[in-house]
């Protein structure tokens, strides 16, 4: 069995925020009518939680989470790296309900941005209001990081998650590092 490889390995940068490339995680895309009980049930079977509303990420135990991507799409982050068995269980629950279910574990790269300067670092790169009352814990926003599409969320541990397509992982990591370079404090948030 081949080992999943992340694009950057265990890369890390320390500046006014800490930028870390995260290890591989199972990721599953589910599309369909999210109001339908089979779709909600399939997410619950996989993670033990149901998807939240627009602009949210709901965390489950062990590092699992489900993020609202679009009115007809959620992205599941699995506690482990292995998506195949979870996918099979979800398929059972979904049965005949119209849906699209896909293992997208290799499609994207994940980063963690933490520390007191994290909001300022992200605000340099994305046209998003990161004020604590506008972007509280559990917020999830698809946007762009400079020139590439990305998603940003705030987890229960107080650190931001950042996700981009795998092909632009190096660009995103270098960009975050540049924005977090020592001396680049903004002190806005």
């Amino acid at each position: 069995m081949s080992e999943p490889q992340t694009p950057l390995g265990p890369a890390r940068f320390d500046g006014i925020a800490r930028i870390e490339a995260l290890p591989a995680r199972g990721m599953i895309t589910l599309r369909g009518d999210l109001g339908q009980s089979p779709l909600r049930g399939a997410v619950h079977r996989a993670l033990g939680v149901e998807p939240g509303g627009p602009g949210t990420i709901v965390e489950a135990g062990g590092g699992g989470a489900v993020a609202w991507m679009a009115p007809d799409e959620v992205l599941l982050f699995l506690p482990g790296a292995e998506a195949a068995p979870v996918l099979a269980e979800m398929r059972d629950v979904l049965a005949d309900a119209p849906h699209l279910l896909a293992d997208v574990s290799d499609a994207r790269a994940l980063f963690r941005v933490s520390g007191p300067g994290a909001r300022d670092v992200l605000a340099k790169l994305a046209p998003v209001d990161f004020a604590p009352d506008v972007f509280p814990t559990g917020s999830f926003r698809r946007t762009r990081l400079a020139q590439v599409p990305a998603a940003i969320w705030l987890g229960g541990d107080g650190a931001f998650g950042v996700m981009c397509f795998r092909s632009v992982a190096r660009y995103a990591f270098d960009l975050l590092g540049t924005a977090a370079a020592p001396g680049g404090e903004v002190g806005y948030y």
Binding site: P127, R141, T143
Partner: protein, 109 residues
């Protein structure tokens, strides 16, 4: 800078997160239509100085198309609404009436 509220995500999306889709509520002319109607459908667009209805896509977001009503002079946004309609809804028209009394008489639409 233009920012529009995506009616699906509920977020204020800034212009660089959006992709423009041109004039809204075009009536499609297909096989059997006259040459003149087909030409109008393909090529001729409103270019008003004032109230305009447009299609936009939340490209760096949920990816969905939606509609926006705005003023091309001041960039004031009167509202955004679902893509699944073929004419502006009443609440959008009322919002424009409140800000631009008489706008419906100003020219062809």
């Amino acid at each position: 800078m233009l920012s529009l509220r995506c009616p699906y995500c509920g977020v204020e999306a800034e212009e660089t997160e959006l992709a423009p889709g041109g004039e809204a509520h075009l009536v499609r002319q297909g096989p059997g239509s006259s040459d003149e109607d087909f030409e109008t459908y393909l090529f001729l667009r409103e270019n008003p100085k004032g109230v305009h209805f447009e299609r936009w896509r939340h490209a760096h977001g949920c990816g969905k198309w939606f509609h926006a009503a705005r003023c091309t002079v001041t960039l004031e946004v009167f509202g955004t609404y679902s893509a699944q309609v073929s004419a502006p809804p009443e609440d959008i028209l009322a919002a424009i009436d409140a800000r631009r009394p008489g706008w419906r008489r100003e020219g062809p639409r």
